[in-house]
């Protein structure tokens, strides 16, 4: 257990180093003049002038050599500071804190919704593998996964906001505004997790221990709960870790579409505006969340299957 935690800690430190350095390098090699880019985001296209860009260059010291800027960032990171946004001048940590909350709510509710939709569907399909319901679920999953989140989001807006007038198409504040963006993400997630769950359940259903449990006369319910669910849960939970990737990229698109003030929406703007400290900070937070999520998945899997921890 300690080894696992230590390993993940080292991983987190590596993520910080690589993400910080990579973001810095990537943003620097983007074409165009950083001072002009930052000024464009600050003052808007109509008020952008070369004079404004020069003022930005002076204020932020953008003409300093790059090793100095990168080392300064790492130095500050070691002390727990993420620097200030180049566009707004506010501390990155404050900006991220205000963006991370909405994004976490969105991601968490999307994950829960996807489990609510995906797991029961996967369970039923797996138990009746090959049935009409199973095939229907497969078609639905393929269709939903094939639709880009942008299109899916617009379709949901048309149905729930325009036709039914139940939910607002954009905004932030209450659960009503969050419903459509999280459903957009959840459907994409559930499309795959339902199939993973279905395959896991079907595989467990075909094992000898499962058949033996039924042969020895256990009621169906006990067979499923004692021998089926736990064994089928491991691939499903492992897959949840991988779905974080879909969630993170989905959040970027969905937040922009639904005008949702989260970290994905901000990241798009930060990259366009060349706000290096914000890009580094946001990518760092996302990277660390990924490490944390994987740690959670590992721990859960060990809880479900003690053999995983024992052998090593």
């Amino acid at each position: 257990m300690t080894r696992l935690l230590l390993g993940r800690l080292v991983q987190a430190a590596l993520v910080a180093l690589v993400v910080g350095g990579l973001c810095f390098a990537l943003v620097r090699v983007l074409p165009g003049d950083a001072a002009f880019r930052i000024a464009a985001d600050r003052y808007g296209p109509d008020a952008l002038t070369a004079q404004a860009a020069e003022a930005v260059r002076q204020e932020l010291g953008l003409d300093r050599p790059w090793p100095e800027l990168l080392l300064r960032w790492f130095g500050e990171l070691a002390q727990g500071h993420l620097g200030n946004s180049l566009v707004s001048g506010e501390p990155v940590s404050e900006e991220l804190a205000s963006q991370l909350g909405p994004s976490l709510w969105l991601a968490a509710s999307a994950l829960v919704l996807s489990l609510l939709i995906g797991l029961p569907l996967g369970l039923v399909s797996g138990l009746r593998a090959g049935s009409g319901l199973d095939r229907l679920a497969l078609i639905g999953a393929v269709a939903l996964r094939a639709l880009p989140p942008f299109v899916l989001g617009l379709v949901l807006m048309l149905v729930f906001s325009i036709r039914l007038e139940w939910l607002p198409p954009a905004g932030y504040g209450t659960w009503r505004e969050m419903a459509l963006p999280s459903l957009t993400l959840a459907l994409g997630l559930a499309a795959v997790s339902s199939r993973v769950a279905r395959d896991a359940v079907a595989a467990v259903g075909a094992t000898t221990y499962y058949r033996f449990a039924r042969l020895k006369g256990l009621p169906e319910r006990a067979v499923l709960v004692r021998h089926g669910l736990r064994n089928a849960a491991i691939p499903v939970i492992t897959y949840l870790g991988l779905q974080a990737v879909y969630l993170i990229e989905g959040v970027v698109v969905v937040e922009s579409l639904f005008a949702y003030p989260g970290i994905g929406h901000a990241l798009v703007h930060d990259v366009i505006a060349r706000d290096v400290p914000m890009v580094q900070g946001a990518a760092l937070v996302m990277g660390l969340m990924f490490v944390l999520l994987n740690l959670g998945v590992d721990l859960l899997c060990r809880l479900l299957d003690p053999r995983l921890g024992a052998g090593r």
Binding site: G32, D33, F36, R37, A39, A40, D41, R42, Y43, G44, P45, D46, A47, L48, T49, A50, Q51, A53, A55, V87, S88, G89, E90, S98, G101, P102, W105, S109, V112, L113, L115, L116, P120, L123, L127, R128, A129, G130, S131, M157, L158, S161, I162, E165, P168, P169, A170, Y172, G173, T174, W175, E220, R221, L224, S256, L257, A259, P261, H265, H269
Partner: protein
């Protein structure tokens, strides 16, 4: 394999439990003031709120009428009383007195004084913004008036003081370093919550000098996607939506619950040319490119309004600057080919023109901050090809245009230029067509006559005296084409019929919240 799963009820119970949890969870971050009796009027626009600095985000606070400027603008776009009731200028044209409105209070209850107003203006002048381009010597306060002394006469001073970067804020808005930490203005609405980048919550200011606004609470939501903005209007979630994409407009017009208004702002999409490049230094080449453009077609297909084809720089709505009877810019491919031949260009084997072994090939740069620009650029590329001009379209960031203007690497840029930053278009013309050109205007092009016209206009205040000079300016620009007008713009404002008193502002200075009231749908 075909057995009925028994644990259905357990799954169902779990489902209901989790759904309950989900419904409860986000309530922790729920909107403030839900118990208020009246719903907040929701205004949706595309502009994000970057922060509190008036130089970068003053427009958000003037549009929402949180903060005000000394000078306002009347319906015709001329300077009008704002926080100053009037102004006088000494005969030498240098010393200006702006008489302050009496009895004005800031949202924190403190009174507006000339000293405070002068201090706000001095901060605006020191910051990035149009006021730094005005030849100001000093700004001071003198019993009930702000006194501005100029280095040389400049008749546009009142128009510059109507710009959103010159908003007057209470001293408590600033921290000692000069950074704005709160917006405490004098307008009919107080900013209760400013949550960058997407939301501002407003409450009526009971002590506004202009009277009590009818609507008690309002909020602004920035929604970047045009499709989403249209859907917010249709679903009734938004009361007023500013800036609607042309493709959505017809659908919204058919909706009986919505009222659509369109106005023509002083904004032109134009081709900014590098007149110093061998391709475009010959005015005949610039004219030929202009003659290749089917402006009506572009406007009809891409903007859904054929009337927006820009046959000269200013649209008819900009009075005094739109020159009646000016020979319009039209499409004439035969004439374009003749001009290009006269300039020495001959068609090569692939149909692209050549001269002394060099192809007529250039990069057309534009940006996606305005969604109509990339498709316009693609259409221009196709039309230019018909006369043998090979344009490669490059879509980048807004800042590429001024940055490449500075380093000289721009061939051709498609830009959307507003002439309303200073309500008098002359403010922008001075910036774009002076002797050195401008970041968004002429590049490596100058004309002594234009420069002298601009110099003379800058000291004239009387519209009647200015008119002939402005007309001459329009004639020169039409003949020389340092920039090629492509289309004018249209601003669409959609209001739900439950709101009355909505007025689309072509200068995009104000949403007019204070004049709105709840009506019967």
């Amino acid at each position: 394999m075909l057995f009925v799963p028994r644990p259905r009820r357990a799954v169902l119970r779990g489902l209901i439990g989790l759904a309950g949890l989900l419904a409860l969870a986000p309530a922790a971050g729920a909107a403030e003031g839900r118990s208020a009796p009246e719903r907040a009027l929701t205004v949706v626009g595309p502009w994000e709120v970057g922060g509190l600095d008036p130089a970068s985000n003053g427009h958000a606070f003037t549009r929402l009428q949180v903060a005000e400027t000394l000078v306002g603008v009347d319906a015709a776009g001329a300077p009008a009383p704002g926080l100053a009731t009037g102004w006088t200028v000494a005969p030498d044209g240098l010393t200006w007195h702006f008489l302050l409105r009496s009895g004005v209070r800031f949202h924190d209850g403190s009174p507006l004084t000339a000293g405070i107003a002068a201090e706000s203006l001095r901060r605006a002048r020191a910051n990035v913004g149009p006021l730094s381009r005005v030849p100001i010597a000093t700004i001071s306060a003198e019993d009930g008036a702000v006194v501005v002394v100029l280095q040389r006469p400049f008749a546009l001073l009142p128009a510059f003081l109507a710009n959103h970067t010159t908003i007057i804020l209470a001293p408590a808005s600033y921290e000692p370093s000069g950074r704005v930490v709160r917006i405490i203005g004098t307008g009919p609405y107080c900013a209760v919550t400013v949550a960058p980048p997407l939301r501002i919550e407003l409450e009526r200011f009971e002590d506004w000098w202009g009277g009590r606004p009818a609507i008690a609470r309002a909020r602004y939501l920035a929604v970047g996607q045009g499709e989403t903005r249209a859907l917010m209007a249709e679903s009734g979630e938004a009361d007023v939506v500013v800036s609607i994409l042309p493709v959505s407009l017809a659908r919204l017009r058919r909706n009986p619950k919505l009222a659509v208004q369109t106005v023509t702002p002083p904004r032109t999409r134009l081709l900014k040319l590098n007149a110093g490049s061998p391709l475009f230094s010959d005015p005949r080449a610039r004219r030929a490119l202009s003659l290749a453009l089917d402006r009506t077609g572009l406007a009809k297909v891409l903007l859904r309004n054929p009337g927006l084809g820009a046959d000269q720089l200013f649209p008819p709505a900009v009075s005094g600057w739109h020159a009646e009877g000016l020979p319009p810019l039209t499409r004439d491919l035969a004439q374009a080919r003749i001009l290009l031949a006269q300039a020495g260009w001959r068609p090569g084997t692939d149909g692209i023109l050549e001269r002394d072994g060099r192809r007529f090939a250039a990069t057309l740069r534009t940006y996606s901050a305005w969604p109509e620009l990339p498709p316009l650029a693609a259409a221009i590329q196709a039309q230019a090809r018909e006369v043998g001009i090979d344009l490669a379209v490059s879509i980048g960031n807004t800042s590429d245009i001024p940055a490449r203007h500075r380093d000289g690497s721009l061939d051709l840029g498609l830009v959307s230029r507003s002439f309303a930053m200073i309500p008098d278009p002359l403010g922008t013309m001075l910036q774009d067509f002076g002797l050195d050109g401008g970041d968004w205007g002429a590049m490596n092009w100058s004309s002594a006559e234009t420069a002298s016209l601009l110099d003379r206009l800058a000291v004239l205040a009387d519209p009647a005296e200015r008119e002939p000079l402005q007309r001459r300016l329009a004639e020169i620009l039409q003949a020389e084409l340092p920039v090629i007008p492509v289309t004018w713009a249209e601003l669409a404002v959609v209001a739900n019929r439950r709101v009355a008193g909505v007025r689309a502002d072509p200068l995009e200075r104000s949403y007019g919240l204070a004049e709105m009231r709840w009506g019967t749908p």
